[in-house]
Subunit: 392 residues, 2 copies
Amino acid sequence: MINEKAYALGANRSAIRDLFEYGRQRCAVVGEENVFDYSLGNPYIPAPAEVNETVRQLLAGTDPLQLHGYTSAVGDLQTRQAIADDLNLRYGTAVSPEELFIGCGAAPELCAVFRALAFPGAQILAIAPFFPEYRPFVESAGADFQVVPADVPDFQIRMDVLEEMLTPNTAAIILNSPNNPAGTVYTSETLYKLAALLRKKSAEAGHPIYIVADEPYRELVYGDVEVPFIPTIYENTVVCYSYSKSLSLPGERIGYVYVPAQAADSKQLYAAVCGAARSAGHVCAPSLWQKVIARCAHLRPDLQAYDRNRRALYEGLVNAGYEVAKPEGAFYLFVKAPGGNAAAFSEKAKKKDVLVVPGDSFGCPDYFRVCYCVSYDKIIRSLPLFEALIKE
Amino acid sequence: MINEKAYALGANRSAIRDLFEYGRQRCAVVGEENVFDYSLGNPYIPAPAEVNETVRQLLAGTDPLQLHGYTSAVGDLQTRQAIADDLNLRYGTAVSPEELFIGCGAAPELCAVFRALAFPGAQILAIAPFFPEYRPFVESAGADFQVVPADVPDFQIRMDVLEEMLTPNTAAIILNSPNNPAGTVYTSETLYKLAALLRKKSAEAGHPIYIVADEPYRELVYGDVEVPFIPTIYENTVVCYSYSKSLSLPGERIGYVYVPAQAADSKQLYAAVCGAARSAGHVCAPSLWQKVIARCAHLRPDLQAYDRNRRALYEGLVNAGYEVAKPEGAFYLFVKAPGGNAAAFSEKAKKKDVLVVPGDSFGCPDYFRVCYCVSYDKIIRSLPLFEALIKE
């Protein structure tokens, strides 16, 4: 007499996690240096030094009751003000603290937003390739999860297919740009087309169709690529942000939800996000980390190490004959499997202790994901293995 | 087209929170020193000095990637081992790390456990007086919430009434001891009787009826009162613990779930707790705080300040003629309202800037809660006001 869905989710680890655990076992057998584990999206550059320095200053200069005490459920005003200031400086927006809710990272924030948007019979769409946890998040919020097929090989959006899938039951569409797993960024052109389509379909449906923008990788872009700030393009956008990647604090669980004042039913939606979070046991985001963000919201990651890895791996794979999505952001390459079956390719690669995640769970079974959060040396030493694999 | 339940929960603040906000406003008008705010259960003694010292040591001696990185979803092994060691030392148990799940405080832990236990049609019982958030937690887990009436004036359990309320649909009963709001502790005698009743009713139902023990106040007891460790009395007990009160870290969101190996379907239930947490966006508990708990799980709070407040307030109220539940733990007094209508009493008290929470939302509308997390001086200065109130 146990909840079957909860049991199934707990008993069946994700494919990514399984591969990672396999890698740990192989390290014990053949040595850490001989396992090329491209499975897990775990930040590889440390948090900026200012972060730990800020923690030290807070410990020295703040009453512990205040430092570690409950904050308001929506988060400290100073933290929300610092985030609003940073957004306004960068995007010319007029975000106010009342539009921000400090959450425990993108995952619980998305869950709260999905639940807030889940009217009876609601459907929420994701665009392949997509982060696999969206499915349990949406389904446990009580909504139906549907996937828009991938736009291969550019990984933008197939507007014609999407148009057919948008119905009066569609509550929202999830965008994740820079994208996990594709490493691609939706262009302004794509986003303006999408906005026009959503406005038209919202009018037909008689209610707003929201964009839920999952943006943990917003700061992780390379060269002169720009990541458009979606609320400035489509008014009915809710942003879920995390400092996991931008400040390399994935374990500390801190981020925010932004419900723009110009979004339809903005105040009601903000209240519903608060209520949904409350019903999942949200009390407040970790207090110390809120106070760190109040002082560090303006910091940006040093991407040199990621960029060097990205270029070496991309060039190496392309030169070897692989077809690779143009890697503009995040820390992933999305690669077409030679032969078209990524699950089979991943198994072959495992035999050479090269661990890549087949795209099945991302909604793209002919692609595999390579997370380049590894040492540069490993990237270089793995290239001959990739070359051998494509020749097989 | 927004989820109505989520909106209602977000738009309607709790009565406690409302009263607290009113107190803030009054402070601005009549001065902090003239407002006797007994509304909020916010720890009043600071975290032990070892806690901040441990944070400093971790910052100095740990690789930031490891310190702030993702941990396993169930929590760092070292943290779980430290908690198991501490429990085993205190209770003579044989808890192993595999039975522990590190969560983000009692609230999300309870939500995960309720969802894990919510088979179709499941009912979960609370015993009045109870923490009001149990209701949204249980209902959003998909179970039916029922309340066992209070055992006045001792605040143990009315076994006869409970026996009638236990049905084949009962999945669990929530125990909160030391109790918020009553400040009482369930005796061993009560718990052994309850265990016998639950065993009998489980057999009749054909499935285990679990106890969910919500224990953030376990360490907060006074004099020679002992808090029985419920899993040693009833095998089918799941414990939800938090360090919010015991280490005065309420804002940092760290605690654990203990699913004993001897509980029925233990491994399945543990997996279901993991799955339920995952479906609500749990990734891991804050990493830095996990590492602090690994070194500080054995620390106990210094209760002198609470105890001094407790005795002064209890004696003052009893001498003034109030009927007060015997305050053995937590930091609450539960007081019978003169005239029997606590909502009316609370309104009268507000006029004297004495803020006490009427028991309606706790399931006891004739009692009010006094949280004595305030300065001793305020307690003493408020006693004449309580005396005047009972004479009115």
